[in-house]
Amino acid sequence: MLNISELLESIKESPYRDIVIRTPHTGCLSFPDLAIGAEVHGPSSQWKNKPGTLLATLERERNPKPILAPEKGELVELHTELAGTFVEAQTAVATIRHRLTREEVEHIILQKALFLFRAPERAKYYFTPEMDKKIHATESHSVKVRDGMELLIMSRMKREVHLQYSGPDGVIYAIYFKYNENIDAGAPLIGVCTQEQLPAIQEVIMRIKTEWAGR
């Protein structure tokens, strides 16, 4: 049985996540007037259309690309020594110490509470067209899965194979993959909640809401 109080306490002891910001591609870096310790913010407004704090600019082939903070937090590293240099893709530019939000805490705890159906191979995953329609058309937490049903398409090296779900019958409570992104073998694809477990999971969510709300 999952001990929610214990889990919450352990998260409260260190309620941060360090986010390393890396260059998406090669280019020449420049930095705005920012210093370590500065508070930065992620995208905001109802549709997240207001961009986060500008951390750096990466110029390639005369196209400047702003590198923006993806989340709110404190800037704990900023590699200004790279200013004016040509850098490789995936070069670390900054680190933000981000305080976990309620949704992130929910995400962490749900990963421990739900049955996780994991990627058998490193590949790209897609829901089958029928399942995709259901997921888009129906309310969240209502799409049922059962052992042996054809659920996903696993795509790698231009070949696609259908993947059957194996695990307890239940509803899809969380989806952990994005289309067109490679998922490592063993990484969770979906989190499934059995019908009997549903009240307990909803209670977990309620507790996180009340206990994390004021923080």
Binding site: E61, Q90, E121
Partner: protein
């Protein structure tokens, strides 16, 4: 002249001596390694690329070994032209070698390399030639204008039903006159690709309904109802002619033929052999020596006509009746170029590195020899060693290679980016090719025998995340070795 176009010593890239050049190797894996070695052998510095998924590939190790730590750049993707240009500029490269795949046959990329402010040389045919021969319909039309045989059928999209029926009727009749007992016509959407919008017609009476179905499909899917009608050839050998020429485009020579008929079910090559037939050893139902001579002559005729100015491969279908038909022209270096190189001699010097020749000629050197100075000796064989399951539709196998070694031989060249001194996780982002083994023998029998000795010596083991053992095509290669060059 714009300042940016000038490289060191105030020269344009075309004016530099080849050792004053620096080549960007815009590819990965074994072909990147062959390009690096060729550059190194020619005394030309290079810059190499890799992506995060390829950090364990031996092409990274070789780049550091031959070019030093600073010659290797991590990029986000091999498919991103901006990444290639940006690294080329940062590392002051004067030329780009695309290898095969990725940008190798992309005329827009080749044009961009040569037309941008900071101009470089594209090591491949000029962009106009890639554009001209990259269009299959255009190639077919050009071939026909020169009397080069192509697969019977239309050489332009057909929009008129009566014309389509007339073409189909003539193709059926042609096949009957060739003694083909079950003639087939292929109807395909002109704007389609990747096997979509293609149907076979077995019965002339069914042609009209298939034609209308494909035409409607093409209109829905591609907004173009043009349809191509061709003979469907089933029983054939797949041959190639290796052409090479300098930038003048006036002196194309050939490095003989290859036979690439042993393929997977998805028509991907698995074994390549040079020369393309062995008429002195094997019996054919046609004059195989004459077919080889003819396809070489046809290929050279086309190369001369277009002023072909680098390496290229003319791909041919040869039917059981000994009829050759031009399939397409690959305006790049082929995976299997080494099998032609290993049997070639130029002016008495053995084993020609066609990639080094491509670089040398691409950078502006003259070819420096004539066809008369090119000779061949023996039979070359290339195995493509791939993690795949031939028993299950050649589906790629993905997992970790734990042991990979083989017995070195003086007649064997092994080309691989897979490390032999450490485990290696096969990246899922690319094709599952692991290695190319090129084997030379003084005749067909010796080559086949050596091929089997090599395959028996390979140890290739590993397992995937589920603990299943590595699957490879080695048994498929062994079984098919006896069949090479048979028709």
């Amino acid at each position: 002249m714009e300042k940016d176009t000038v490289h060191q010593d105030g020269k344009t890239p075309e004016a530099l001596a080849i050792t004053d050049h620096k080549v960007l190797v815009a590819n990965r894996g074994e072909i990147a390694m062959r390009i690096m070695r060729a550059c190194h052998g020619l005394g030309i510095p290079f810059t190499a690329l890799y992506t995060a998924e390829d950090s364990a590939s031996c092409h990274c190790d070789l780049a550091r070994e031959l070019g030093g730590e600073h010659c290797l750049y991590r990029v986000s993707s091999y498919h991103d032209a901006n990444e290639i240009m940006s690294v080329a500029d940062a590392s002051e490269c004067t030329a780009v070698h695309p290898g095969y795949g990725f940008f190798a046959e992309d005329f827009r990329f080749a044009r961009r390399v040569t037309k941008r402010d900071r101009k470089m040389i594209f090591i491949g045919p000029s962009w106009k030639i890639i554009r001209e021969l990259g269009d299959k319909i255009n190639t077919k039309r050009l071939a026909r204008s020169l009397g080069v045989p192509t697969v019977p059928g239309s050489d332009r999209p057909i929009y008129d039903e009566a014309e389509a029926e007339h073409i189909a009727k003539s193709i059926f009749e042609f096949q009957e006159s060739q003694g083909i007992t079950h003639p087939l016509v292929l109807v395909k959407a002109s704007a389609g690709g990747g096997g979509m919008g293609i149907e076979e017609v077995y019965d002339p009476d069914q042609f009209r309904s298939v034609y209308r179905r494909i035409r409607n499909y093409a209109l829905r899917q591609f907004k173009d109802e043009g349809v191509l009608i061709e003979q469907r050839i089933k029983d054939f050998n797949h041959l190639e002619v290796q052409i090479i020429s300098d930038r003048s485009g006036k002196h194309p020579v050939h490095f003989g033929t290859r036979n690439c008929s042993i393929q997977s079910t998805g028509r991907q090559k698995r074994i390549e052999v040079a020369p393309g037939f062995a008429p002195e050893t094997l019996d054919y139902s046609f004059d195989a020596a004459k077919v080889l001579t003819n396809i070489v002559e046809y290929s050279l005729t086309m190369a001369t006509k277009v002023g072909y100015d680098n390496v290229g491969t003319w791909e041919w279908i040869v039917t059981r009746a000994g009829e050759p038909f031009l399939m397409e022209v690959n305006t790049r270096i082929q995976v299997e170029n080494g099998v032609s190189g290993c049997i070639a001699h130029v002016a008495g010097r053995g084993s020609v590195d066609l990639i080094a020749e491509q670089i040398r000629l691409g950078l502006g050197e003259e070819i420096g020899y004539t066809q008369a100075e090119i000779a061949t000796e023996g039979v070359g064989l290339e195995y493509r060693i791939i993690a795949e399951d031939p028993a299950n539709n050649f589906i790629p196998w993905v997992g970790k290679i734990e042991r990979f070694h083989w017995k070195d031989q003086p007649w064997l060249t092994m080309l691989t980016h897979v490390p032999t001194d450490r485990p290696y996780e096969i990246p899922t982002e690319f094709d599952p090719n692991l290695a190319l083994a090129i084997i030379w023998g003084k005749n067909l029998e010796e080559t086949k025998e050596r091929g089997k000795i090599f395959l028996d010596s390979i140890v290739l083991e590993g397992q995937n995340a589920s603990g299943e053992a590595l699957r490879s095509n080695i048994e498929f290669l062994k079984t098919n070795t006896d069949q090479i060059l048979h028709f």
